[in-house]
Every structure is written in structure tokens, then in C-alpha cells.
Symmetry: C2
Subunit: 389 residues, 2 copies
Amino acid sequence: MMFTKEEYQNRFQRIKDELKNYEHDAVIISNEDNIYWLSGFFGFATFRPLFLVVHKDIDEPFFITPKLEYEAALESTWISDISFYIEWKEKGAFLDIISLLKSKIEEKKLSFSKIFVETATMPAYLYNSLKQNFKGIEMDNDLILRKIRMIKSPEEIMIMRKVAQVVIAEVEAATKIARIGVEEWQISMAAQNAGYEKAAELLQNYPLMTPLFAGVQMLQSGSRSHIVHGRATTKKIQENDVIMMCFCEYAQFAGYRMGFTRQLIAGIPTPEFTDVFNIAKQSHDAALTQIKPGVTGAELDIIARKVIVEAGYGEYITHRTGRGVGASYVEGPEVKEGDAIALQPGMIITVEPGIYVPGVGGARIEDTVLITENGYEILTKFPDELKRI
Amino acid sequence: MMFTKEEYQNRFQRIKDELKNYEHDAVIISNEDNIYWLSGFFGFATFRPLFLVVHKDIDEPFFITPKLEYEAALESTWISDISFYIEWKEKGAFLDIISLLKSKIEEKKLSFSKIFVETATMPAYLYNSLKQNFKGIEMDNDLILRKIRMIKSPEEIMIMRKVAQVVIAEVEAATKIARIGVEEWQISMAAQNAGYEKAAELLQNYPLMTPLFAGVQMLQSGSRSHIVHGRATTKKIQENDVIMMCFCEYAQFAGYRMGFTRQLIAGIPTPEFTDVFNIAKQSHDAALTQIKPGVTGAELDIIARKVIVEAGYGEYITHRTGRGVGASYVEGPEVKEGDAIALQPGMIITVEPGIYVPGVGGARIEDTVLITENGYEILTKFPDELKRI
């Protein structure tokens, strides 16, 4: 486990405390990031569902997995009550997750009339099956986990500092290899390998954690640099190419993620691109310097957007200014229109306003910041100029 | 695009033909693998939904994306009708996918009273929103896409042969680097890099495709070799360690996947492990040699399972014998209890019976086979003995 047992128990207690604010009995956790956050277990269940159940009247969550994942769960979680279902008929076995859940609830004599489920990610078939099998149950969105996870614990902040070390190793490796004639994917591979190396170094005392991560660095150059989520291809870097490198999928350590984007120029930028880049940078800085407790994501979004709109590039905005980040790529609060949550110390958000102009190029500088008592601290401390290679 | 426009049009026509067998008007495709299969577009929309709509009365699907993915979709799909929604208030813009869908249906004057949606993967909130907004609509599971995708086209079979080339480059690289003292993750990294190199070589004439893939090779050694989905850690390979290497997440090319598992031994296996390995091999071969058109997945599963149960290891079976594979990790038909679909030429399945004994080790030899007119052809042609390193 990456965290102490006390850390996990605190997380469990925070969910129970939050449940008291509602008239609900329990929350069924099915989202894989939420399961990891609470249990330490990160599975690859290939469409077989897992349920982690937090009930107001129990002292520990209970965990239901497919048999396939049972041994992996046993070794990676602090939770002692783990049971499994199987996928073929066998005497005494539970054939599906719903029948096993019913049995556990009866065995523990638990009330089960109003529960939260995670409708943002739970597949519709599973939701429908729960509705059919538990009459009278009221289903809600994943309000509880989203709310609790916004404020990071000291242990989580320590991990996020390590994610920053991993991603800085990646950008340094990418910058070092990037030059005219190299293929885009080779830059990504160099970044990924450097990330693995750094993560392995940081994990030498954690025998069950992997330094590997699943993800594809988004990297696109030249005439495709305005594609937001482009993937690195076999295209060779050419003279004067803009190279957009988003490390968000590679910025990982121990299941935690971070937002991070930097850009390179393989020569001389055009005056039009220089203009766009400078405006993106101004937008980024304008939002950043206003970050402090009490400000909302919606307010920061307006500040960042205003810079771009007033410069005449409003139509080339394609996404919000930022997002919460931690054990998920996107979590609360979000830096976008409508998010009225006041920032608090311990929250971690990205600041990533972007401008994407076909024929000119895309510009985005993305950082991840920790909200502090008086303002903010940049976790992704790395030069943010348009680096010439 | 990886495939010809004709190939995509044929896929579209197959969906329309299949719709005629039902009284449904349309299918809303939201699953990312299905979207890729039909459109050529593979997005990273981070929780923003995409809809690809195939309607019985139109000559081409229409595509709805978040603005963020619009430019990437434009460059990667054969579909001409692409529209986007945005996530903030703006004059003339659609604020969410449902309102844009409504507008498209009105604009095209389409009937929309019975539609298929993909409940196996569609999040419950989106399903609920569709139900609320389209009164009288009947929702079903993704029967249509699953059924059609089972039979691979000649172009798909060609791609699957390339996936095999990628994965064989990976296992060769892994075997070459694996030795006592090397850390598990270093073996995975070597495999991944070899896969990228091979994929890049095969993609030199496809300018918009990426040779990178997202996934973590499952690799576990020694006392953890019985964990089905273990991840490679910083543990060093020790003398006599069994090394279980599952390449399923690394066995990728151009969005297509393949099942593939091999094992190494860093010295001398124990007699108990040798026994388990031989039984797994017998189970694998028993199923394999019975594969031909007309046989069902359920029948193959019984054949494979019988070998293991009769040898006394039944309780150490944790998963089905195999699965369909192609543009998804798991697709139809499945080699498991209850799957009554008769195999047909053009289907591609895995054969992967496994035995996982704590304290002894896990044994699984996994191959991917193409069903042919008279039997089968192994696509993952690679020696399957317990390779000594």
C-alpha cells in the first residue's frame, strides 16, 4: 500500500461523516479511481464490476470483486472483508455481483433503503440491475466521494510532489531528444521511459506498487499542433515546427495524476504563433496570480478567458481553464463556468487555458497548483517559455 | 485512417442491415471502441460524451463531439457530418450533447421512437438523461454492434496479423532482457519499447496513426506469479522465479488488441509448478484442437475446464477459457459457460485457460486464433514451452 492504514481509515471515516449529512444509508463505490482511493487496490477487471460498500453502521467497508481479482485485492488493500463472485455455475458460489451484494447485506443485517451510487461512471446495465433488485432505493450521483476527495491529505500532497518529480524527469528527457528529424513517437517514448525510471527510484521501498503507468503522451507538431488531444505519430520534426507536449496521461505516480503541458519550437516561431503563445501565457498567468482560498473555479475561468477573448481569439477556446486533479484525471473543483466551489487550502487544480488556431498552431501552458493558506504553490515547477530546440 | 473508406462504409451498411431485423430506428454509439471501429476516431474526451448515430433512414452516420475533440475528429474520420457542443454559455451554441442530438434529429426529420443504446458501457447519468429527454424511447443493450463485430473483415484480419508482429517483438525483447537481478518493470519497459518500434515500422505509410499504446504489461514473478492481473514492480528476478507475462494490454496495433501470455523460469521449476504448467498446457491444447466452425464457446470452455478439474485443480480456476478480441479487449463470442454462439470463419478468439495456485505459482498459455473454414489458425505463433532464462 502506498498510504498508511490510518490514512485509509481516515478516508473511510470522512465518507461516513459525510453520509450523516444526508438521510442515506450507504454509498456503493464502483468507480475504479474511487476504489483505489479508498482501498489501495487498482484492478483490471475488464468489464467485471467491483463494489466497495461504505455503510453508516459498519466499522470497515466491505469489498466485492470477481474471483479473477480476489488474490490481487487480498494483497493490496487494508480491507479485511473481501468476497468474490464467479462467472460459472458452482455449488455454493455467487454467480453475479448483485446476488452477492444481497447476501452480504442480509448477513450483516444492514438497512439498505437509500444509497448513493456513482452514476457518472457506473454503466447503465448495472444501475438498472441495482434498481430492479433493491426496490425503493433512491439513486444519486457520486456527490460524496467527489466532495471529500477535493481536499487532499498531507500524505496525498506528498505523493503529488512525487508525481511532479516524475513529470519533470519526463519533460527533461523529451526536450533532450527532440530535434529536427526525430519522429514524434520517439520523443514520447523517451519521456515515458524517463518517467518509469524516476518512479521506480521513488518506489524502491514499496514492494507491491508498479512504476509503470497506462497512458499515451499527447504530442503533436507542425500543422497539427492545434489538435488538443493529438497523438504522437511517425511524422518527423521539421524546421520551425511547434511541438505541443501534454504529459497529463504520463504525469502519474502511484495512481496519482497531474496536469502538465509544455511547448517546444524547432527553430523560429511565426509572428502569428508568437502572438498566440504570448496570449496563452498571459491568460495562464492572469488566472494563476488570482488563486487563493475563497476564489471560485468559475471566477478563475472568467479571468483566463477574458484575456483570450479580448485579444480576439475567443472562438479558438475549446475547453475549460482547469480542473481538480489527484487520483483521477478530472475531479473537483473544476475551473469552469458554473463551478461555484470556493477554493480551500489542500485543493489541487490545474491551470491550462489554451488557444488552438488551425494554420497557426496551438498554445497552452499547463501547471498544477496546490491551494495554500495565503495563495498557491506551483507543483510543476519547470520553465514555461517557448523552449527553442 | 487505418482502413479504406469502403471498409468503413461496409461496416455502416452492416449496422443498417442488422437494424432491419429489429423494429428499431437507430443505434446511438457511445462506446469508444465502437466509435473507433465505425469512425476511425479514437478520442480522449475525459468524461465528455460522444455520440455516433446510425439511423435506418440516413446514408451516413452523424457524429456529435465535444468542441475539444472536434478538430481531432475532423482529421481522422470518413464521416462528414460532425457537430460539436460546448461547455459554457455562448450565443448559438449547444451546451450539452442531448440538446444537440435533439436539434440534429429535428433538422434531419428523423423518426426516433425506438433506439438502441450501449448500456454495457454508457454511464447511468447519460442513460437517464436520454430516457428523460426522449419520451417513449425503448433502450436496449449493444446487441447490434457486438453481433456485427464478431466476424472480422479481410482488412481487420490483416491488421490482426500486424498486432501479432508487434506482440512477438515484445515477447522477444522481454525474454532477451529477463534474467536474475533485473527488476520486473524493466522487462515490461523493454517489451513496450520493442512494441512501439515495431508498430512505428508498420505505420510508416499512415501519417495520422500513433504507434504508441496505453496499457500496462501484467508481469509478476516468484511468490506473486499466481496473481492473475499483477503489475510489474521494482522486485528483482530471483533464482528459480516463475515469470508470468501477459501482453494483452501491450498487444496492440492501430487500436486492435490481441490476447497473448507466455511464461519464463529463471532456473529450475519446482515439481509442483511443472505439474501445474503441464496441466495448463494440456487444457490449452485440448480446447485449441477442437476449434472449428459450429463449435460454441461454451463447449470449448467445458473441454478446457475438464482437464484442469480432473487433475484436481478446479478451485484454482478464476476466469473463463477465452474471449473474442479485436478492436476491444473483450468482445463476442466468449469462450465461457453459457455462450451458445457457434463459431464461424472470420471470428477471432483467445484460448487462455489458467491455473493459479498460491504458494506454487500461476500457469497460463494464451494464444489468439482465427477461425477458418476447416478449423483455426494461430495468430500468435510463438513457442509455448516454459522458457528457461
